[in-house]
Amino acid sequence: MMTTLLICSLIFHMVALTLVLIRLGKGPSSIDRALALDVTAAAIMGIVMVTSVWFLRSDLLPLIIVLACTGFISSTTIARFVSRDTEAKSGLLSPEEALALDQAQAAESASDDDDVDDGDLDAEETNLTFTDTLDKGIDAGERANDRGEEELG
């Protein structure tokens, strides 16, 4: 009976991993794929826990700690670079143009830092002019959203 429950747990994890794999393939944005990776890490941790209880293998426990430590890195990395990625892919700017624009904006924002109160919203990205980036991002993202909804039907 106890073994049945443990087998059911493993089957649930297997179903979860299958569904997550479908989401990982479908997208439609890289953020959805990052979410799928997060759930995958959680499911793998669960599988290791069930296995260690079933076969009483406490030598598997460090594996869970390692997964808990490193599971968030992938999605954080994707989140860090996704906005620039969508901007480059939107066809608005080539990478060189985007770099030149960034530098121009950095110089501009450095020169009028005194009279512009940025607040603490974008304190970590003072070398980007926040609102311009967001405007372009919103245009590109709306097109991406339209495309995605058409694909999903």
Partner: protein, 121 residues
Amino acid sequence: MNAVLVWIGVALLFLGSLVTALSALGLLHFRSVYARMHVSAKPQSFGILLMSIGMACALQTAKGIAVAVLVVALQYLTVPISSHMLGRAAFRAGMEAKTVTDEYSDDIRHIREQADPSAAM
């Protein structure tokens, strides 16, 4: 080994895996990024919490309990970070949040008016 505790532990492991499976179903079903984000945080926090308690109850060793506490602590430290980063990236990439209140857009408008009063609407 306390048999009742082992049963409770196995039941908790079962419940945790059920949470994981249901949230994977939700990840496939929901249509907006933010709804998917909401449902994908559940197995990482709640599911891992249930399964860690279950593992500690079932193993009943000092090592098992220490690992369970450490794993729950690590998950509850890192999951909010990655969720926050993903939500922020989604909003700034232009994914529309169809919410009742939208304070972030209000803040952006406020900054824009302060930066360029002539363009204020």
